[in-house]
Amino acid sequence: MHSAQPHPDTSVPLNLLEAVNQALRHAMEADENVVVLGEDIATNGGVFRATEGLKETFGFRRVMDTPLAENLIAGLAVGMASQGLKPVAEIQFMGFIYAALEQLISHAARLRNRTRGRLSCPLVIRAPFGGGIHAPEHHSESTEALFAHIPGLRVVIPSSPARAYGLLRAAIACPDPVLFLEPKRLYRLQRLPVELEDEPLPLDRCFTLRAGEDVSLISWGAMIHETLAAAEQLAAEDIKAEVIDVATLNPLDRDTLIATASKTGRVVIVHEAPHNGGFGAEIAATLASDALMHLLAPIERVTGYDCPMPYFAMEQHYMPSVERIVAAAKRTLEY
């Protein structure tokens, strides 16, 4: 179990966006092979300001505003990574990542395998994802399940400033390609202590954010916050919920998930993405198979509806609510 206990001495208060920014900065300081690239990331510091100040410190050679082409960005990153650079590319919004998929599926995720280890592809693609900020059409996507199904591509999603920092450092250090999805709804939510001198966090472990015996609430990304709020509400009714932040969708830490399901016998999986074929299905299927004898109730999935995230006027109707999570948890208890 990895919990991000701050060391009171050296930690600094950062929001998730600042944590990303610090992780980039420190990774660039630590390794001159780290370069960042993307649209509007140099002079403008990124449309969310995740790369703010990097160009000023590291110069245009290591902080590159690319032409407007996501397929190009991914291809550039693959080429760079194949020769030992460690590119960290920003895709401005997850809704614009699809043009990069061919490079990720057919090349980044396979280069090591198809050259039998001769070449590797240590790139990181960062992309803000998810809804809830009243953004334009196509700006609020949660399609992490597409990426988690790509063998060879790691998929990492932080849900707190400390995990954003620790996981991004780990992702950049990792010799494999990593998709790093940043829950943009959390970017400026709150400043929390981040320990900047710790070891990078593991890329294959869930984080247990709250221990409990009655029901397991499993989630990732921005939905962790609704999930924690639901656990709080349940606690008020004396129901002890365990909250697991999956954090790395691929490779998946099945052991921690099986352990919590086996302990509580009741599972609610929460994600913002649509239901059908969402990554919650993989977790539910795993638990229904490997923890079946411990299950005391059907596994509940609280997810978005099977439609694209609506344009913002109806966003709140789409998003899984604390209420829905609490209700699902109670259903498992009343089963």
Binding site: E39, D40, T43, N44, G45, V47, D65, P67, L68, A69, N71, L72, G95, F96, A99, H134, A135, P136, E137, H138, H139, H275, N276, Y305, D306, C307, P308, P310, Y311, F312, A313, M314, E315, H317, Y318, E323, R324, A327
Partner: protein, 353 residues
């Protein structure tokens, strides 16, 4: 193959020929003035929380107005997201344009009794509309429609492969397609010089074997002339054209942007010297086709029209949450019925769960 019309960098438009169609230009001026009023209001609505992120068309009035005026009813329009003037001229009421930027898909349900009925909605993923426009042009060609397709995009969009794929197929299939690039010098914070090393965007037509023009996008008469030529050529089966309309984005990229971070104030100031609306008003006034009295009256009219649109917009009833499922497929699949039921229950009055 590629011709470049040098555009005037000064604040006066070039002199116009004798046979100028003045009433058309006066019309054009009225539209441009209206859309500027609209644009200012939309930015204010966003500032006061009554609209979402909005892409201003400040500085693009001549380009989009010319597009709307040069298109025939039987043509097709494939916009990007800065074409409010064209959409308006195609028949989309101003309140619906606000509704769209207010986060409501109903803003894309253009009135069925207007040329806009079959136009594509705003396109947010950059450049992806261009191959679609080629598909529409293919449809028009297969059906011997003698119709043209006008598709627009920004200078940043020219870096995406889609731009080239669309021009290339338009060349090889001789499609009735006109791609008009609003080269406003910026793609959010990235200047034109970091987007491409080609001297002009018009010359990108050479790669596709089609004709390319560079034209002053702040010059309505020049824009109309170029579009008339290219659309007419398309309608007559003479192939595709690329138009680079040179302009300057006088606004922030959108209301979510702060151009002060990357744009020199002096550049912006210089750009204002050749902005399209004042330029055309001056030309019309000089030629005796517009005067202060008309201006005053028209400005009042514009304000009234925009105020009405805002009122209509703000008075639209909310959508039903079930709309998010009901329009996805032609018929609601069995598999979604439970979700629809669930959505119904989430609504006030429904049964929460």
């Amino acid at each position: 193959m590629f011709t470049s019309t040098p555009y005037d960098m000064h604040h006066r438009l070039p002199d116009l020929p004798e046979n100028t169609d003045w009433p058309r230009l006066v019309d054009g001026y009225r539209h441009m003035a209206l859309i500027r009023t609209f644009d200012k209001k939309a930015v204010n609505l966003q500032r006061t929380g009554k609209l979402g992120t909005y892409a201003s068309c400040l500085g693009a009035e001549a380009i989009a107005t010319a597009g709307g005026m040069a298109l025939h009813d039987g043509d097709y329009f494939v916009p990007y997201y800065r074409d409010h003037a064209t959409q308006y001229l195609r028949g989309v009421p101003l309140y619906q344009i606000l509704q769209y930027w207010g986060g409501d898909e109903r803003g894309n349900a253009f009135p069925t009794d207007t040329p806009a009925a079959r136009d594509l909605p705003n396109c947010v993923p950059i450049a992806t509309q261009l191959t679609q426009a080629a598909g529409i042009a293919t449809k028009a060609k297969l059906g011997h429609e003698q119709a043209a397709v006008l598709a627009t995009c920004g200078d940043g969009a020219t870096s995406r492969g889609d731009f080239h794929e669309a021009l290339n197929v338009a060349g090889v299939w001789q499609l009735p397609l006109v791609v008009m690039v609003n080269n406003n010098q910026w793609a959010i914070s990235v200047p034109r010089s970091l987007q491409t090393a080609s001297d002009t965007i018009a010359q990108k037509a050479v790669a596709a074997g089609i004709e390319g023009f560079q034209v002053d996008g702040n010059d309505l008469p020049a824009m109309l002339e170029t579009l008339d030529y290219a659309l007419d050529k398309a309608r007559h089966g003479k192939g595709a054209t690329l138009i680079e309309a040179v302009s300057y984005r006088l606004s922030d990229h959108t209301t979510a942007d702060d151009a002060g971070r990357y744009r020199k104030a002096s550049d912006l100031h210089a750009a204002w010297q050749r902005e399209p609306v004042a330029r055309l008003r001056q030309t019309l006034a000089d030629a005796g086709h517009w005067d202060a009295e008309q201006e005053k009256k028209w400005q009042a009219d514009c304000q009234q029209q925009v105020d009405n649109a805002v009122e209509t917009y703000l008075n639209q009833p909310p959508q039903a949450p079930t709309d998010m499922l009901d329009y996805l497929y032609a018929e609601l699949p069995e598999a979604l019925k439970a979700q629809r039921q669930h959505l119904l229950q989430q609504q006030p009055g429904g049964h929460h769960a």
